[in-house]
């Protein structure tokens, strides 16, 4: 047995995570000791914490460093993803307070829980050891189980939380078993050492331990990013969870899943690239097709966006399959713009709902575009971007993902992706048809835009339009963030 060496501690590398955790712990205490009817102040405090953490994360851009004997790194890839997580957490918090007040479930614990799950995501993006990635994933998941079931009095929310918990921990079992087998095959849990051991011994897919380990880990990650055939939980959980949580859940964990998926497969398992490329090819095609076709039949807009988020995971898998610089930079760009457009769309869904009635059917949007012209235009921008119509950011992102696939020689994959993207226009446009071409049956008098909502929508519209009009700047950032 080797001796255990106490590693050099370099807290500066994990400063953004530490700051956010301290804020979350402080908020838990403040929530207990300050008696106040409104919990909005906790939301603003947590946004303060997110901004501090954001500055601390961005200050590390361009200065790679590692800590805790190489289990956590600070590189541009991790920082790019941390910015995506922090932005999506801040935007979800902006739309949380009013929703909770409306649904009579105004408990302040939701803010610390969102912060804790953001910390988990950040560790998933910066972890370079299977242990850190596993712990990050569990911190993220355990907080999200609670968030999905946060509205204790709503039967749907209970059911959503319980379903997410049972299926989520089931998939964790696969992930850790995969990690155990990979550890057994290579004798280390560090990603870089796995790669060098595999290269040294010339191991390939004929090593059954490594191959099964890779497949099991892929299953675990595919569950987190909601790729078909591991997507069954997504629509149920998204529909039942409180809408701000759904907005957060559809963006953050998906991006975190992709960050860890990319790092584990590209850094640790390049030797198995021929095998996992075909695996991802199949996953991408299946995910895009299942997501889009099922979304066509949805009447409930939250379920429709859930299936659309499955389809978007498929588009991102196209870039992952390509595995080249264009495709991978496309993934980063796409996750950033997806955060803005999806949270923006969910913000409007919250506004259209009222107490007791979520108004989630597509037909509830009849005439909405006339009653609230500004909100209608914002919703159109988000839907156009999700459908991939220029000049929105969604178009540019898809363009890079598919051109990455063509450059790498996966012409058919790109063709299937484009066809799927064309089919998806139908269900996004259907919402717009209801908004503009159907006579209003409702007055929409309950829709009140608060400053926090307005801010969230302005950020979302800016985040969709600016990268869409000036893609060069953002793509350059994404390319600098690659670790290949």
């Amino acid at each position: 047995m080797e001796n255990i060496v106490i590693p050099a501690i370099n807290l500066a590398v994990i400063a953004p995570e530490v700051i956010l955790s301290l804020f979350a712990l402080a908020l838990l205490l403040i929530n207990v000791f300050v008696k106040s009817e409104s919990k909005a102040y906790l939301g603003y405090l947590s946004i303060g914490g997110i901004i501090v953490s954001l500055f601390s994360a961005v200050s590390g851009w361009g200065c790679p460093a590692e800590a805790f004997s190489g289990t956590v790194v600070q590189d541009n890839f991790a920082i790019f993803f941390k910015v995506v997580f922090l932005i999506s957490a801040a935007m979800s918090i902006l739309i949380t307070d009013k929703y909770l007040e409306r649904e009579n479930c105004n408990h302040g614990e939701i803010y610390p829980l969102i912060l804790f799950s953001t910390v988990g995501m950040m560790f998933m993006a910066s972890g370079t050891d299977m242990m850190t990635i596993f712990l990050g994933l569990e911190l993220l998941s355990v907080s999200l189980y609670v968030l999905a079931g946060f509205n204790r009095n709503s039967i749907k929310s209970n059911e959503s939380g319980l379903k997410y918990f049972l299926l989520g921990s089931f998939s964790t079992g696969f992930l850790v078993y995969g990690m155990a087998l990979t550890y057994g095959a290579t004798g280390t849990t560090k990603l870089a050492k796995i790669a060098s051991y595999v290269a040294q011994t010339g191991m390939n897919s004929s090593n059954l331990l490594l191959l099964v380990g890779m497949l099991m880990m892929a299953t675990g990650f595919a569950f987190k990013i909601a790729a078909a055939p591991f997507h069954m939980w997504t629509p149920d959980v998204y529909e039942g969870a409180p809408t701000p949580v759904t907005a957060f859940m559809s963006v953050g964990p998906k991006a975190a899943g992709f960050a860890a998926f990319l790092r584990v497969f590209i850094v640790a398992l390049p030797a198995l690239k021929p095998e996992w490329t075909w695996l991802l090819w199949g996953l991408a095609v299946l995910t895009m097709t299942v997501g889009n076709i099922t979304a066509l039949y949805q009447q409930n807009i939250k379920r429709m966006l859930a299936y659309s988020s499955i389809a978007h995971a498929g588009y991102v898998l196209v870039g992952f399959t390509a595995g080249n610089a264009v495709g991978t930079a496309g993934i980063l760009f796409y996750m950033l713009s997806y955060a803005f457009m999806n949270i923006g769309a969910f913000a409007i869904i919250i506004l259209v709902g009222k107490k007791g009635e979520e108004n989630n059917n597509v037909s509830d949007y009849a005439g909405f575009g006339y009653k609230h012209p500004m909100l209608g235009v914002a919703m159109c921008i988000f839907l156009f971007s999700l459908a991939g119509i220029p000049p929105a950011a969604g178009f540019i992102g898809k363009f890079y993902l598919f051109s990455g696939a063509i450059q790498a020689g996966y012409i058919w994959l790109a063709v299937i992706g484009v066809l799927n993207s064309a089919a998806s226009v139908y269900y996004y446009l259907r919402v717009m048809v209801f908004m503009y071409f159907k006579d209003p049956t409702e007055e929409f008098s309950w829709v009140k835009l608060t400053p926090a909502f307005a801010l969230c929508l302005i950020i979302a519209v800016a985040g969709v339009m600016i990268p869409g009009v000036l893609p060069g700047v953002f793509l350059e950032l994404a390319q600098k963030a690659l670790f290949m």
Binding site: F134, V142, V176
Partner: protein, 100 residues
């Protein structure tokens, strides 16, 4: 002295038993017990590998998995209680409000 393979076979069998349990049982608590069985079979694999390779990493991983499983149990049982309070059942067949 058993070889490392015996432990790995045992662990794989336990993992499959847990998996089948999750897929066939109807009571949420029994499903959760099966998930715990899966996680513990992974722990067994880690310890067997750790002993065989003479490397401590696997045993440290096991400690983390145990801690995480405890946290999951706390959250999962709480979710089951709140579901039971509203529906007076924890049968997964009754989780049928959300479907298309």
């Amino acid at each position: 002295m058993l070889s490392v393979n015996s432990y790995l076979y045992l662990s794989a069998i336990l993992f499959v038993i847990g998996m089948i349990g999750v897929l066939t049982r109807r009571n949420a608590i029994v499903i959760f017990m099966c998930i715990e069985l899966m996680l513990n079979s992974v722990n067994l694999s880690f310890i067997a590998f750790s002993k065989y390779l003479g490397n401590m990493d696997g045993q440290i991983f096991v400690l983390f998995i145990l801690a995480v499983a405890a946290a999951e149990a706390a959250v999962g049982l709480a979710l089951m209680i709140s579901f039971y309070k509203n529906r007076e059942t924890i049968d997964v067949e009754d989780m049928n409000l959300l479907k298309w």
